[in-house]
C-alpha cells in the first residue's frame, strides 16, 4: 500500500486525538462495572453441593395428590451443566450461573400492532439455574439460595441475538445489552421480575422482601399479572442425536408448520389459580409446624431467597391497606362513580396500586396493544408513592379518561371498527403514529371540557385553577386544542402544572 503523505498522516493523528476522548465518553452499551468489592465468594463446587442437597426447593416439578406436575414455566427435571458454570460476584452477593438441560422449553407469544392490525410473534424463553450466596453485613453470616432464572427477551433483542441468550446474562455480572424480562423462580413461584433495556435494569417487582405470607402471595400475584399479556407455549425439549440443544429448529406453531419432530405440539400453559396446587392451607398463615406433602416446608421460607441486589428494595413498598393506598382507592372509587356508565366493562379489569415500574413518572401502567381492543385483559396502574392529594386527583382523573377511551376501543374490538364507531378517536391514534397514549392525549385535548366536568363533579370545592388548568395535565397540553388557547392562558396552565410538579423538566 502506498504510504500516505506525511501531512495527511499528521492530520489523521490529530483527528484521532480529538475523536478518541469523545468516543471514550460515550458509554458502552453495557458499562464495564468497577472492580467489585468482594466480601463473599461462591465456587462452582460449593454451588453444586448446595444444589444437590437442596434440589427439592427448586420445585421444578411437584407431586400433588400422587400426580407429577410441572409448575407454570418450570423446566421440569433439569440436568445442570457444571462444566459450563460461570462464577460472578457483586457487592455482598456471589452467584454461580449454570446452563441446564431442561425437560421442557418455552416460547413466549406476544402481539404487536402493525399496519392497523395485531400481529403475533414469538421469542424463545431461556432458563438456567442460578445459585447465590449472600453475606449479611449485620449478622456476619452467609446465606445461600437458588432459583431458575427465566429470560424473556424483547423482540428486537431476540432477532439480533441468536443462540443461547442465557449465556450472555450473568446474574451478578455482565448483562451484555440484554433487553427484556428476567423472572426469578423460587419454589416454583415467580418471586422477582425485572425489566432490562440495553443491559440496564429499569424496573422490578420483588416478593423476596415481603414481610409475611399474605404480602408475599400478593406480590407474587402482581408478578404473575405482569406476565399475563404473554402466552407461553411449552414443548418437550428436543436435542439432536449428538446431544446438542436445538435452538433454531423449533417449529413455530404460528407459521402453520406442524412438524414437531414427532413430539406433541406445543401446549399453551397458564399459571395455576392456586400457586400451591392441592394445598389451600397455604393461603392462611401457617399455624403448625407440619405441612401437607406436596407443599413447601417451613424451611423453604427461611432458606436463601435472595436477589442479585437485595438492598434496592421492592417496588411495591406499601401493604395493600396503607393510608396512601386507601386514599388512592377512595379517589378511584369517587371518579368511577361519576363516570360508571362510560367504563362499564373496563372498571372491573383495572387496579390502581401504589408503586411504579418507572421511577421517572408519576404513574405507569401495564397497558400493551393487547389491551386496546381486547376487553378481557386486566390493567394495573402504578401510582408513585408520596404524591400530594392534588397530584393524585389530577393523575387519576387523567387515567380514568384513558379508561373511557379504552372502553370505546375495546367495545369496537378492532381499529377498523373503531374507525366506523368513533372516527375522531381512530384518527387521533393514527395521526400520532399509532401511539395510543399520544393519540388519547390528542383526543383529550379536543374533549378537555369533559375532563373538567369530571373533576368538578368528583372533587367539588377545589380552586378554579385546579379545574381550569389541572385538566390540561398528563399530555393534553401537547394538542391542537391547547395550542389554540390565548398565549396568556397557555402560560398560566404550564405554570400551574410546573408549580404542582405535574411536568418533568
Amino acid at each position: 500500500m502506498k504510504r500516505l503523505p506525511n501531512i495527511i498522516r499528521l492530520l489523521l493523528l490529530i483527528c484521532s486525538a480529538a475523536v478518541i476522548p469523545d468516543c471514550a465518553k460515550i458509554p458502552e452499551l453495557h458499562e464495564q462495572e468497577a472492580e467489585p468489592d468482594s466480601r463473599v465468594s461462591l465456587s462452582v463446587e460449593e454451588a453444586r453441593r448446595y444444589f444437590e442437597s437442596e434440589y427439592r426447593t427448586l420445585s421444578v416439578t411437584k407431586t400433588v395428590n400422587g400426580e407429577d406436575r410441572v409448575p407454570w414455566l418450570m423446566p421440569g427435571d433439569i440436568t445442570p451443566m457444571w462444566e459450563k458454570a460461570v462464577e460472578s460476584w457483586k457487592g455482598n452477593t456471589a452467584s454461580v450461573d449454570v446452563e441446564v438441560i431442561p425437560t421442557y422449553r418455552y416460547k413466549a407469544v406476544r402481539s404487536e400492532f402493525r399496519n392497523g392490525k395485531a400481529e403475533a410473534y414469538s421469542v424463545d424463553v431461556y432458563q438456567k439455574l442460578v445459585v447465590v450466596k449472600k453475606h449479611d453485613d449485620e449478622t456476619g453470616e452467609d446465606r445461600m439460595g437458588q432459583y431458575i432464572l427465566t429470560l424473556i427477551p424483547d423482540k428486537g433483542y431476540d432477532r439480533s441475538h441468536r443462540g443461547n441468550v442465557a449465556e450472555r446474562f450473568i446474574n451478578t455480572g455482565d448483562k451484555g445489552s440484554y433487553s427484556g424480562l428476567a423472572v426469578y423462580f423460587c419454589g416454583g413461584l415467580p418471586m422477582r421480575i425485572a425489566w432490562y433495556e440495553n443491559g440496564k435494569e429499569t424496573g422490578w417487582i420483588s416478593a423476596f422482601t415481603a414481610g409475611d405470607t399474605n404480602e408475599l402471595l400478593y406480590r407474587v400475584s402482581i408478578i404473575i399479572r405482569e406476565l399475563s399479556d404473554i402466552k407461553f407455549l411449552r414443548c418437550l425439549a428436543v436435542r439432536t442425536k449428538y446431544g446438542e440443544d436445538i435452538w433454531d429448529d423449533w417449529d413455530d406453531p404460528w407459521s402453520g408448520d406442524e412438524d414437531y419432530g414427532g413430539q406433541l405440539p406445543p401446549a399453551i400453559v397458564y399459571p395455576e389459580d392456586n400457586p400451591f396446587p392441592g394445598n389451600d392451607d397455604w393461603y392462611e398463615p401457617p399455624e403448625t409446624d407440619s405441612y401437607e406433602e406436596g407443599g413447601m416446608s417451613e424451611g423453604d421460607w427461611d432458606s436463601g431467597w435472595m436477589l442479585p441486589d437485595d438492598s434496592s428494595g421492592a417496588v411495591i413498598e406499601e401493604p395493600e391497606v396503607s393510608p396512601e393506598q386507601e386514599r388512592i382507592n377512595n379517589i378511584a372509587s369517587t371518579l368511577e362513580s361519576k363516570i360508571s356508565s362510560t367504563i362499564e366493562n373496563i372498571k372491573d379489569k383495572v387496579t390502581f396500586r401504589i408503586g411504579t415500574p418507572n421511577q421517572n413518572t408519576l404513574t405507569s401502567s401495564t397497558m400493551t396493544m393487547n389491551d386496546v381492543f381486547d376487553k378481557t385483559t386486566d390493567l394495573t396502574f402504578y401510582i408513585q408513592p408520596g404524591l400530594d392529594e392534588t397530584q393524585q386527583k389530577l393523575v387519576l382523573a387523567h387515567e380514568y379518561m384513558h379508561l373511557q377511551l379504552l372502553e370505546i376501543s375495546r367495545n369496537a374490538g378492532s381499529l377498523g371498527a373503531l374507525g366506523r364507531e368513533n372516527p375522531e378517536l381512530m384518527t387521533a391514534i393514527n395521526t400520532n403514529g399509532q401511539d395510543v397514549n399520544a393519540g388519547h392525549h390528542e383526543y383529550m385535548g379536543s374533549h378537555i371540557d369533559e375532563l373538567e366536568t369530571m373533576l368538578r363533579e368528583a372533587f367539588p370545592g377545589e380552586s378554579d385553577e385546579f379545574y381550569e388548568y389541572g385538566k390540561w395535565g398528563g399530555g393534553a397540553f401537547d394538542s391542537d386544542a391547547f395550542d389554540e388557547l390565548p398565549l396568556s392562558e397557555q402560560y398560566k396552565i404550564i405554570q400551574y402544572l410546573q408549580n404542582n410538579d405535574l411536568m418533568s423538566k
Binding site: 495527511i8 394538542s479 398565549l487 423538566k505
Partner: protein
Amino acid sequence: MIRHLVIFFSFIFCALLSSAQNPVYVVFTSNDLQTDFSTVNFPVPDYDKSESRDQPHMFRLRNRPVKFFRTFYYDNRKDCPDNPPIVKPVSYLDTVEYCDWDKLCPDLTLGEAKALMDEWWEKQVYFIDRREIKDGMMRMYPVLEMRSNY
C-alpha cells in the same frame, strides 16, 4: 491524493457526529401568530424588573399539520447562574453547528420531530430568537423541555 482527502474529511465528519455531548443551538424567528409552523417566545420578561426574574421564560415549538407541539422553558430565577440569559455576538454562530428551526420544522414528520426531541433531551439546548438580535448581539437561553410526567 484525492482519495486521501476524502478519507480525511469523512473522519472529520464522524468526529463531529461522535461528539455526542456537544450542546444544541436552535435558531428561530419567533412568531406569536397562530400559524402552522412557528415558535412562540412567550412575552419576554423585562429583566430590569426584579419581579419578572422569578417567572420561567416559555417557548413553544409547533408543527401543526403533523400534530407536533413542544414546550421549553428557561429558568429565569434570581439565583439561576444564566440569569440574565447569555449574551453573545451573532458571529458566535459562525463557530458552532446550529439548527435553523425555521427551515427544519416544516419538513419534519411527526416521528422525526419526536426523535429529534429525544436527542435534545440528552443535551444542553440553547434557543436563540432572531427577533431579539440587536446591535450584533444575541441572547442565548439554556432551555429545558417540559414534558408531562404521567
